[in-house]
Symmetry: D3
Subunit: 253 residues, 6 copies
């Protein structure tokens, strides 16, 4: 069930059967010369749709903007300050929590969101832990799952690309977005000879430092290996793996 | 050009020809027994795609969550606190402003966003007006246009529904979403006899007060009049009108 | 009853008969070459005193500073950032709400306050709507009435000045302040030939943009038409109209 | 010159001769059974008018609400949270500082404001001290003077009331407000037998604790000693002393 | 009992006998050419250990960083913005309050902390005073005691140094730190001829202004008079006086 | 060089040779029946002293309180909300950055700090990345190193305790604190039979959930294996490994 295309009464009915919700969260940021600016939002949004079909989970609207300050030296990137993203996540969780949702499964497409989301969950819990929450409800339970780091998806990414998968603008995520938007993928994939073939690695700091280290935006990847066909395989694997992890989360005591 | 499905280099090229961007902004909130929870995000997102085709404008990802505290007594609604939405808009504008965007056209689908967005624009301007902005760039220029209140769209809505269009869960917005999602529309439209036919009017306060006044969520509307065919007409009119207003905004001295 | 010149026991007695309070809210900002910097605070403060006499309402101290970032390129203007004004309104309402006040009628003199005050009301309601208010009291009920836009006052302003009333440093508000401070009015009214007679119109953005568009501060007005005699008529009309609207607000179900 | 009743051009002229401004700051809070809720705002506002006449200083609008959480168990009290008051003072100072004001003299009527205002000044300075102010202007210089604790006014208060002056709802401040509002003073002064004659002393904590310690709101005072005649003497002394201190502040290297 | 070196069960046992806790709070800031950057943290930490031995009080970890923006023009100084320090104190008090602590005795070593801490206490109380605290517990009770301004310690400081004690980088506090860290003291004390012998006095504003007025960092002091032997006497006196004040605070009704 | 026990001129001299600083950061929280509440602060503080001796690094005062909301159901725990800790880290870094420090090495003792500190670094960078930093300095460079997860220390912990080291109240950290405070260690180590010997594992959420899953506070550990002798070995290994990582960080291009 997609929250966006149901009525409020249908949400009420859903809650009789489940207290879980999946919230896709991504980012709007450069993904190298052959990747979409929206890569990190498109991936979890696409996978979430599959998980919805497999598990019947409620899917909240995608949070398309994340914490991406380090990509700001590349045109088109949008970032939330961490404190803004904390407020965003807090308000989303508090809203759905009031309605009776209890288990919040953030399906994430962007490494840069992990720390801040974890901080956001603690910010939410803290009012309960300090005993000042102002509500009688039990605390919500939040988790974040990155579609790209389960054992199955990592095995497949390794099989498909080995080291060339990389850490940013990875071959795997680019494949997945080409699968989701094949025409746009075809357009930008023409642009396909990159120098060097495999991008460098390094630490992540502020935006200018990032651009100095990673001049075309990629980290450690050769995304010219990406293809729609790979994207389909990655999609199937991710949907199946994330569905399992979602069910585990609901079953958690 | 959709920011989400282009590369950062394509954004750079775009900026050589235009400094404008359209940011669809909506809400995730109840829209009565026959309207989608995502109505207010779906409408501007749908229209923005048409405006993009007509004007070549860059479309940023939809901000799907808005200020909807008054709908919180209906399951499924998500709200940002006003101060959260101010931070969200500030960060989005500051991010794109750094890249050289200068004109920010928020295409809005939700009345509840208007005041807070206006406050957000002033929060952004204030650092410039106080002389403490910390950047050498000229201030961004922001405007918000509600797709539902231009003269053409109001005339058409009046023609189609007269008084029964209403103020929340309007027949016009419901038509537009049925046009965008006809299958989902068909499912919920079955549910079509509402009591009373035309919902009551009244002031908007906190969530419990809202539910007391407007028991099924609608204000002043009979959305059972909605249809896909109307949605198509509304869409065409809105695309044309919003395109004109976007061009006017770019041309503004 | 003016809150400032009664004892706390007198406030307690007042609450036995009414739960309403009027809070004049204005701004400290340029009002063109013939208007007071304090125009927007003086007008609601003056009218509120009349409404108090007519209705017996409790009048809180005037909030003399508002959201006026767009006037900051004119010397003497003071602005709150929108987030500051939200905090100010929240604390005032929460304070009086704790004592048992339930209906908060903000009598406003400044267009620039409208959006932010509306956001502030939603910020206050949001804790109730999200179920985390931390108090057992019912939510407060807030409204903002602009003294200058009721039907009676608009008719009179039109009758007195027609188009020359304008949108900022209006002839009507300047008249009202001359009525309140005739000596100061006489001093500055000497300065009476303005160029052009009727100021231009345009959109409102940051402060430098404002000054570029509206070089002497006025928008659309010819305030040299202002007079003490007009101010008296405007005062009488406003007091009567605002009194009616205040009573309606108290009676609202 | 009262900022509220001059034009922006008059403020510009003022700045050619002085960079100083006086900002009366008070509170809206209980002042015992014979004192006005607005006592702490009325006193500095009244004295500031005298200082203006004596020194030609610019007087900003009175900040009538302060930090008064400890009085919240008495009906009618309004408080800003300290963080709100810090934002208020910051915005006022930043606004006037942009126009060229350099010396900010807060004339204070409320002990509860002292700590928070001092924190606010440091909050303003901190951006300069950390080198991140975002402006080229030199930092503003802020001071707070309590009208009630200069040597002259303390001597007179001691002479008039000795120990019965007290610490809250003092005989001196009540006299000063009766001088400013003799009719209202006459009304409430009838209420004149207090039990005990001189109120108790003690530490200040939260609101309920305050009421437990100081059941009628006074601390250490017998304000039934207050009179209009005393108020006149206190006014003259305060105007003279504050004028001297304002001139000293302007002259400070 | 030092909170840092006991188990949580030992804290539980402690609470059966006392609800009090001592929180040393200092600063990390320049203390002239012969004083430690950590002077203001070392003094209350050192004294607190003695008070713990004398009274059995629980000692929380030292808050070593305070509000020191005015010292920022001297290398090594660290400052919290006042709003940061307010959040720090609020979280510390709320945390221990949840566990059952009721009396919070901040033992302070830095004048610059006084105002902001007082604001912080009011920020904490305000939620209770406004009736929105979200907890059923009674409000915490907070006080701040400066080790350097009790009657006994002032008498001794006067006896030892007279006027040369000064206001910043005082001879007394430097002695106390030499007593705590004699080797480090010996190293820097060599550096002992200061010009002028007794530093100037003046007001405190932003950092650059401070450095202009007080070129080597001291205010009004000749800390070359400091010695380990004096430090020992000051320590004994402070421990005894602070112990008495702590016991008084616990006994306060 | 310990920042706390040097003069500001000594800090200036230090900066001629190095731009690096080590900031120990820990937590004040339960560590099971045999661990100190201050474990997570004591460990990095102790190791930092050794690293200082080995590398000559400047050591800032320990930030003893961290993000520990999940431990709040155990008496004695203190937590910062994540947004508070972000402000704390931002102010510390901005302060030292103004003085010329460029490389900020946070030596961490608490897993719960990792996410929030990472968010804090991004919050600091974001002003630079968005181009609104208000300073001309280059951005600071921040890293966090957990003393407990370098390869050498992990190997030794594994060798000493195998699986019984665990995840909270680990045998390794308890050993290290017994080494630092042998007397206190001896006192609490008596308390040595735990049930079950090895504590359970599980996810971390709010405080009550934590206590339900981990009734005595430990996660996965048997800290009764801890000893002073082990602590010495762990100390030596950590000092050597952290020193190497600090030097690497300084040398990073």
């Amino acid at each position: 069930m997609r929250l966006q295309t149901v009525t409020w009464q249908e949400v009420e009915s859903y809650l009789e059967g489940s207290k879980g919700v999946i919230i896709p969260i991504g980012s709007t940021e450069q993904h190298g010369p052959t990747g979409f600016v929206g890569t990190d939002a498109i991936c979890p949004e696409t996978i979430a749709k599959g998980v919805m079909e497999e598990t019947g989970a409620m899917i909240a609207p995608t949070l398309s903007i994340g914490m991406a300050q380090h990509h700001m030296a590349f045109t088109g990137t949008i970032t939330f300050r961490p404190t803004t993203l904390i407020a965003v996540i807090r308000d989303v969780v508090e809203s759905l929590h009031r309605h009776g949702f209890e288990r919040f499964f953030f399906l994430n497409g962007h490494g840069g969101n992990i720390a801040t989301s974890d901080a956001a969950f603690s910010e939410i819990y803290a009012n309960f832990s300090l005993g000042v929450s102002g509500t009688d409800r039990s605390p919500p339970r939040c988790t974040m799952v990155n579609w790209f780091d389960g054992p199955d998806i990592e095995t497949l990414s390794e099989e498909l690309y080995g080291e060339a998968n990389g850490a940013h603008a990875t071959a795997a995520e680019v494949s997945l977005t080409y699968y989701a938007y094949p025409e746009d993928g075809a357009r930008i994939a023409r642009n396909s000879k990159l120098e060097p073939e495999i991008a460098p690695w390094g630490p992540i700091r502020d935006a200018d430092d990032y651009r100095r280290r990673f001049p075309d935006g990629r980290i450690g990847s050769d995304p010219t290996l990406a293809s729609v066909a790979d994207g389909k395989r990655l999609y199937d694997t991710a949907v199946s793996e994330v569905s399992r992890r979602y069910r585990d989360f609901l079953a958690e005591d």
